[in-house]
């Protein structure tokens, strides 16, 4: 048994050294896991989720890296010697892994600049949903229909990001057409009352309801409402139908497209023979 442990794999590195390294790394991984799990439990109510996750990742990989550097001499690796070799290898790897490095650097900038946080609702180049995680190389999005989308950080960093919830309030808009024969002032009054009755349609900034344009088929009203960013979609869904039904209840209708056609000459209908006779008698 001792002979096997003393068996040299390369240079002065024996099987014992290798087992020692594996054990140390295993213990370090388990230790890192225990530390991060306990920290997560202790701090989950006291810190923002994105900050907590970032801190836990740094601690987790920090413990593993420290352990790895600690056991490098057991593997016969001299760090000073690695510097020269590392320089050459680094250039080679650098060329080979440009995109990885670009993603890494973008990830560092994303984490420091914080245009997005875990839990935010965002849209990046047509992908909209909740930010699940901001990793060092990629950003994970859970789309509104529950799909998992991984976007490389370089793409996230160089694209325009729309963050729907960074600001505390946001505005949405309806365009509502009513008949020319309807009382537009009454319609405005009804819509304003409905907005006022909705708790999350904000009092300030003041909602706007006004006649926006005289269309081909309808008088078009524009309705602009501010709502808390986290509630805007439910307010938007809720109010539109209420406005529609309340306007109709008050005799104000949203018209179908219609067109009045005038003919230069009287239009002659092509009536059947029987019909002609019946008309003559």
């Amino acid at each position: 048994m001792i002979d096997i442990l003393d068996y040299r794999i390369y240079q002065d590195v024996t099987v014992f050294d290798l087992i020692f390294v594996i054990l140390v790394m295993a213990v370090a991984t388990v230790f890192a896991k225990i530390v991060t799990t306990n920290l997560r439990r202790a701090l989950i109510d006291k810190m923002k989720r994105d900050q907590l996750e970032l801190m836990l990742k740094i601690i987790y990989f920090g413990i593993i890296i420290v352990a790895f550097i600690g056991v490098l001499p057991s593997l016969g690796l001299d760090l000073s010697g690695l510097l020269v070799a590392g320089g050459i290898v680094g250039i080679v790897i650098g060329f080979a892994s440009q995109s990885v490095v670009a993603n890494l650097v973008s990830g560092i900038f994303l984490i420091s600049e914080k245009p997005i946080k875990i839990g935010d609702q965002i849209s990046i180049e047509g992908v909209a949903g909740f930010v699940e995680d901001v990793n060092i190389l990629s950003t994970i999005i859970r789309t509104y229909d529950g799909l998992y989308v991984r976007i490389p950080n370089e793409k996230v960093f160089t694209s325009s990001i729309t963050n729907y919830v960074t600001h505390v309030a946001r505005r949405f808009e309806y365009s509502i057409g009513i008949r020319y024969s309807d009382d537009a002032e009454r319609a405005v009054e009804i819509i304003k009352r409905l907005i006022d009755e909705h708790p999350f349609a904000l009092k300030n900034p003041e909602p706007q309801v006004f006649v926006d344009s005289l269309g081909d088929n309808s008088v078009n009203l524009t309705v602009r409402i501010w709502a808390p960013s986290n509630e805007w979609y439910s307010v938007k869904m809720d109010l539109l139908w209420k406005i529609k039904t309340e306007l109709e209840r008050n005799g104000i209708e949203i018209p179908f497209p219609q067109r009045v056609v005038w003919f230069a000459n009287e239009l002659r209908a092509d009536l059947g023979e029987g019909e002609e006779k019946r008309r003559e008698t």
Binding site: H167, R170, P199, F200, L202, K203, P228
Partner: protein, 235 residues
């Protein structure tokens, strides 16, 4: 109606609401009726029911912990002055169950229609529960199940005349008191400059022998960082 009640055969009417407790086998059933019906099962051996006014930021759902009281007529305060005025604030009524030295929230309802607003700008401002009130020189008479009376101690520390038209409070510091006639609270508004004021609730009832309400943030075990709020987006 506000106060501590035995669970057994509890029944009460508050405005258009009717709340009651029914024993069902090993647990109690809490029922609130007002057009619609809300039911909740409560399991306790020897609990008591606590009904009292709470901080008005819970309905229809909790999205903020700030209350903005907008004065219907702006108040112009002279330099280096202190004045006490009275305003009103909305009431939400909470039903707690208390047992084994701990309380749990059963229900929150209100006879006021909630409305929210933005104080400040959309980028940095805060969402607040919105309330409009007149300022009174004396304690106004209000329905205690709908509105409470808040004593505002307005201190103008500046050297200029300053007009103030609203007060924003961090509701987590709110202390609410009640008796058989009214619900009340107290706060101070310290005007530091024409655009900045510091608001803070104080722990003083308007009258002696008023009972202190059980607070929602206490029941929910929310830690309180500070009770004052700095109004930095205008008065």
């Amino acid at each position: 109606m506000f106060g501590y009640h035995e669970l057994k055969d509890f029944s009460a009417e508050i405005g258009e609401y009717r709340i009651k407790i029914e024993k069902e086998g090993v647990f109690y059933r809490y029922i609130r009726e007002n057009g619609g019906r809300k039911e909740k099962n409560v399991f306790t051996d020897s609990g008591r029911l606590i009904v009292n006014p709470v901080e008005p930021v819970n309905l229809p759902k909790e999205i903020t912990n700030f209350l903005q009281i907008r004065f219907r007529k702006p108040f112009v305060s002279e330099p280096k002055s202190t004045v006490e005025v009275y305003a009103t604030f909305p009431i939400e009524i909470a039903v707690f169950v208390a047992a084994k030295k701990s309380v749990g929230l059963v229900d929150v309802f209100s006879m006021q229609r909630p409305k929210y607003t933005l104080y400040g700008n959309p980028r940095e401002g805060i969402i607040c529960r919105y309330w409009e009130s007149d300022l009174h020189a004396d304690v106004p008479s209000v329905d205690r199940y709908r509105e409470g009376v808040i004593r505002l101690r307005i201190v103008n520390s500046d050297d200029e005349w300053i007009e103030i038209s609203n007060a924003v409070f961090d509701i987590y510091g709110m202390k609410i008191f009640y008796d058989d006639e009214m619900v009340c609270s107290s706060a101070s508004v310290n005007i530091l400059s024409p655009k900045v004021a510091e608001t803070r609730f104080t722990n003083k009832p308007l009258r002696d022998k008023m009972k202190k309400s059980l607070e929602l943030y206490t029941a929910r075990r929310i830690s309180i960082a500070g009770v004052k709020f700095v109004m930095e987006w205008g008065l």
